[in-house]
Amino acid sequence: MRKSRVVSALAVIGITIPVAQALAADTIAVASWGGTYQEAQAKAFFKPTADALGITIKEDTTNGLDDVRLQVTGNAVKWDITELGADECARGSKEGLFEKLDYNVIDKSGINPKLVHDDWVGISYTSVVLIYRTDVFGEKGPKTWADFWNVEKFPGRRALSGSQATETLSVAALAEGIPIDKVYPVDVDGALKSVDKIRGHIDAWWTSGAQAMQLVKDGEVDMASIWNGRAGTLKKEGAPVSFSFDQGVLTADCMVIPKGSKNKDIAMKALAMFVSPQLQANLPLYVDNGPVNEKAFETGKIPQERIKDINSAPENVKKQVLQDAEFWRDNLVEATEKFDNLIQQ
């Protein structure tokens, strides 16, 4: 009697352990930026993927490359997939923080080759655009960065990004009249000279998307550089603002599998789903960040009248500069230090 109980107890343990392992293997952790963007990703990417693959996707939020570096160098990787800015991906790749991606599993067709790399792949686009208040300028507000730099023709209060030196240097180059296809590689010293010209007229250097939005919404500034998602939200809320994708700066976000991920294979399959045209086409239905896979526009999922408002629609891509992640990988530190020295004078 007693022996049989022990045996059955062992049997129970024997059964539960493999089941527990199978369950653990079928859960992956994905980290993104949080907020409305991640809610949109959850609906567009995570849920359909989890359903299709029969896995559980546990969500988390990230602060960026530091978090990944901390996890990988500390041998405590808790994410299987994480989102980063493209320049962060390029830098992390140089530091060897990511697992190699298998392009037999992930279909890269439709994704700009500049965003397809051994260990990172693009996931969505954000644009830096020029926004102005229509209650100050009517419809005749500053349309180009040269206008933004022209303080005589367009007097008013101005804000630019102080935290994203890469973006501000790109628009500074555009303000000098450099055509959009010649901005990269950025002439950093030339761009800094351009920043130097406008610096005395900048009333706030914003450090977060929420702050940029607040500055424009409350009328603290009359024109600003801003991310298109934030600009779109302001317009939807009924703020008197206008913006367009002309001379916008397209910045990509990317996804990686941190080195040492325990569920690499499932993560690979999930990532393949995320960048597939079908799921990519879901993203603009929930948020203003454009899909990275241009085939998403051919799926017919995105309504025609919506397409013109998406920053990565082929029509809009032509009007914008694509940030070169690999250029910033090599030049970010030096350029940012110089930029900080300049704006903090």
Partner: protein, 303 residues
Amino acid sequence: MSAAPADLPDRGGLNADVLSADARREALALLGLCSPGIVLVGIIIVLPIGWLFWLSLFDETGMLSGANYARVVEQASYVRTFITTFEVAFIVTGLCVLLGYPLAYMLSQLPRRAASICLIFVILPFWTSVLVRTYAWLVILQRKGLLNTWLMDLGVISQPLPLAHNFTGVLIGMTHILLPFLVLPLYASMKAIDADYLRAAMNLGAPPTATFWQIFFPLSLPGLAAGVVIVFILCLGFFVTPALMGGGKVIMWAMRMEQTTSLYSNWGAGSALGVVLLAVTLGLLGVFRWLLGARATSAWGAR
């Protein structure tokens, strides 16, 4: 007093051994009682700070170097940030003293019930997050904010005052948030002052002003010193308020640490900033102790 233990062995050799053994046992027992605390402090404070210091000595390639410290001295923006940080810390501490001292004095003179009601208003903001309070200041101080709108409607000013997104905004926001840290220790020390001293002074013919400056003020100094040190140290590490109220033009050391940590791929860059701040803060604390502590101690000694 201090000479007494040395006299012991001469007086009675019989008890001396037992007594000193007893003293040793007691000391050991006390050490035993303290040891969990000491170990905890060692693990959660001393070790990590030592590690921070260690990390700051390595550059990007993992080689031992002073590059992280050299950068702090060579790059103009770091020096500028450092100066700004201390400028803000000194001014905010000064403002807190100017506002907090009279407030604590008033509170200490009120009847108990009234004082506790007033104290609630000092403590209440403590329960609200710093972020929320900072945003509230933005709403009040910005160009189209409450204050500027009222002043313009009343015809006091024609152009909005630049109160937010600059140095002034940072000072206002930080002073508001840090004021309770000065008022509370100060109030406690003022409450502990025996009113009989004041009565005695007046009884001996001192006018109220002299009583205040010669009796009350020196006795309240230890509380003031404690408050000033707390406020000053907290100022040095402030992040949220300058980040939001400074309009990107007031960069403080903590903001710089955050930027540096994400910009450089080695932890050393950020830790060097931490070490510099720690060293300078400890140095300043020493100066504070020497300036305020000595006077405060003598005031207590006179009691």
